[in-house]
């Protein structure tokens, strides 16, 4: 089993290689326009520094004992799913409804069982956000595809 730093360093080297490969796809510009400082110059400079430091990290990790790490809990994975799904849900159901759903789903996923409090949060949170941000600060949230369809009909 390798030390974490070795694996992290190797992962960073792979990342650097991919990022460097991406820089080869940048559009070519005449030297006159770029004034001899092409758009690849700075990213490649930074990537070379990261790669050098990553090699040092790999080398440092090899000489160290491997560490034991715990696996993420089921609650953690449930939280990841809830958070990641907000972006998708917001475009379908609208931001305010999505945040209401998060206000229900996240406490339940974290083991909360006081459903009356969860209900209050699920109602009050989107309303507060609407009052403060939409009415107060003029921030307009996406209504979502479903609300859009309903409005069209």
């Amino acid at each position: 089993m390798k030390h974490h730093d070795t694996i992290t360093g190797l992962a960073l080297l792979v990342l650097c290689a991919i990022a460097y490969w991406l820089t080869t796809g940048f559009s070519e510009v005449p030297a006159l326009l770029s004034q001899n400082v092409p758009p690849t110059f700075f990213p490649r400079l930074v990537l070379s520094i990261v790669a050098t430091l990553s090699v040092v990290l790999v080398a440092a990790g090899i000489s160290r004992e491997p560490e034991k790490t715990g696996r993420p809990s089921a609650t953690f994975w449930r939280t990841v799913v809830i958070i990641a799904s907000t972006g998708i849900l917001a475009s379908i159901l609208g931001t305010l409804l999505t945040l209401g759903i998060v206000a229900v789903a996240l406490p339940i996923a974290w083991g909360e069982r006081r459903y009356s409090f969860i209900g209050i949060l699920a109602v009050c949170l989107p309303i507060s956000i609407y009052l403060i941000f939409t009415l107060g600060l003029n921030v307009h949230f996406p209504a979502g595809q479903i609300v859009g369809l309903l409005l069209e009909n």
Partner: protein, 499 residues
């Protein structure tokens, strides 16, 4: 000085102006405390309304919000490890560990007093030394900015603790994130993957919210089954005499740093806070306590970030060059008001300038009281059970990330940053160096490109300028600081044994 008072007194005795300064201070603390809502956004939102006011009350309102917003960000940084604004990032390093140890009130008190001290000192110094400081900043060219950026990045080796190498890598990853978007010199797309929303680059605020708040939310999710470290909230405490003695030198030093960094064009409170934190650690008798909850770690960045607000107004008013993002919005406000910021403003409108300076001074005094009272109310946030607090925090993160550009891409950037931040954190990479890299990215790249053009592609050109050379020397010292210290201590111990 008589001239200054002659112009300032009508401002200080005008009830409308005082009322607006109070309103600006309260709004600043509230906006600054909400994750994702920075003082820049608050000032930008308030700007259209300020146009209905006379220039002095309008700019006084915006200036008060700017000052108070910088402090407001520290409240949530300390209580929930979610800096309300970028300048409060460094405050979270020690403020949050203090809160987890049951010292939230003490941390907030230190933050308030340090912020006020830094703010007042900066305004007082600037009243008398503004022209001189502005001249120093004006003499900086691209090579000096590049060297300053390198120096700032080199100091990552000494922040948030145990892994200098990983901090440096994190800083470089931040620089890489900052390269996303269209290259301003050539118009070439870089790392945009054809997504139009990325043409203008990855926004700083969503990355900041993701790396700090969402990462912490995931961290909390993983810690749920384990013993809970409660953020105990006692009554908010003003620093004791002992505490004040302990941090007074840190406050003075960080205020000086804040003023200096703030006065540099384009540099703002965030960099001042980072340097203030690093220097507090460097000068501390107990640097190992940093990152674990020490009052110097709160006082350093707080004094520096508020001192930078005063400093940032100098190039904005005297040279017409914004000293920070918020100052740029205020600069726009001045122009819309029909005023011409620049050297002539000092000669033509001394009343306006001194009016602004005194408005900022008053705002700093006011938020000592409003900030303390407000912080006490805000401290109740950590009494809410985690199962209710974090969904609310996540909703604020969502709104904060979205509100900046009203774009869902920013929300995705926040979510992805949070997930990546969590993985990095588990592998020993702190979020602060990445944020530092993102903040400095644009400046470092632009100034490097401009310098290379100036020097006709000759790297040696950097070594022909004394200020640049000094910053590089400081960077080397910063990188090798630990080694130099250990060599010195070994030499000293050998000498003492021989004696």
């Amino acid at each position: 000085m008589n001239l200054s008072l002659e112009y300032a007194l009508p401002v200080l005795t005008d009830p409308v102006v005082i009322g607006l300064i109070v309103a600006g201070t309260v709004m600043g603390v509230v906006i600054g405390a909400l994750p994702g809502l920075s003082s820049s956004m608050g000032v930008a939102l308030l700007l259209p309304f300020s146009l209905y006011l006379e220039p002095i009350p309008a700019i006084a309102l915006l200036s008060a919000l700017y000052c108070a917003g910088t402090f407001g960000g520290s409240i949530t940084a300390i209580l929930i490890n979610a800096p309300g604004a970028p300048p409060a990032v460094a405050t979270a390093f020690d403020g949050y560990p203090m809160a987890t140890k049951g010292e939230a009130g003490r941390a907030l008190g230190i933050a308030a007093v340090s912020s006020v001290s830094g703010g007042i000192l900066s305004v007082l110094v600037l009243l008398f030394a503004a022209p001189l400081l502005a001249q120093v900043a004006y003499s900086f060219g691209p090579p000096e900015y590049f060297a300053l950026g390198v120096f700032a990045l080199s100091m990552l080796a000494s922040i948030s603790g145990e892994a200098p190498l990983k901090n440096l890598i994190g800083g470089c990853l931040g620089l890489l994130i900052a390269t996303v978007g269209i290259d301003l010199t050539t118009g070439v797309e870089r790392f945009t993957f054809g997504v139009p929303e990325l043409y203008e680059g990855i926004q700083f605020i969503p990355v900041l919210i993701g790396l700090f708040a969402v990462t912490e939310l995931l961290n909390q999710a993983q810690e749920l089954g384990r013993e809970r470290i409660a953020v105990a909230v006692s009554a908010l405490k003003l620093p004791s005499l002992d505490d004040f003695r302990r941090v007074k030198n840190t406050i003075l030093r960080s205020s000086g740093i804040g003023i200096f960094v703030g006065v540099l064009p384009a540099e703002g409170s965030t960099m001042a806070a980072m340097i203030g934190y690093n220097e507090a650690k460097r000068w501390s008798k107990n640097p190992d306590a940093f990152g674990k909850g020490t009052i110097e770690g709160v006082a350093g960045p707080e004094a520096a970030n508020n001192a930078a607000t005063g400093g940032a107004m100098v190039p904005t008013l005297a040279l017409g060059i914004p000293g920070s993002a918020t100052a740029a919005v205020i600069l726009g406000g001045l122009q819309v008001q029909g005023l011409r910021p620049g050297p002539y403003l000092f000669e033509e409108q001394p009343g306006l300038l001194y009016g602004i300076f005194f408005a900022m001074l008053l705002a700093n005094v006011l938020f000592l009281f409003i900030g303390l009272l407000g912080a006490k109310v805000f401290s109740r946030i950590s009494l809410i059970p985690r199962t209710f607090l974090w969904p609310t925090v996540f909703a604020l993160c969502f709104v904060g990330a979205y509100g900046l550009n009203q774009s869902m891409v920013d929300v995705w950037i926040m979510i992805i940053s949070g997930l990546v931040g969590f993985v990095l954190k588990k592998n020993g990479f702190g979020p602060a160096p990445i944020i530092m890299g993102v903040v400095l990215g644009g400046l470092v790249e632009t100034s490097l490109a401009q310098s290379m053009i100036i020097f006709d592609q000759q790297w040696t050109g950097f070594f022909s300028r004394p200020i640049t050379l000094s910053f590089f020397a400081l960077a080397v010292i910063s990188l090798l600081g630990g080694k130099i210290r250990s060599v010195f201590s070994r030499l000293l111990s050998r000498t003492s044994r021989t004696a």
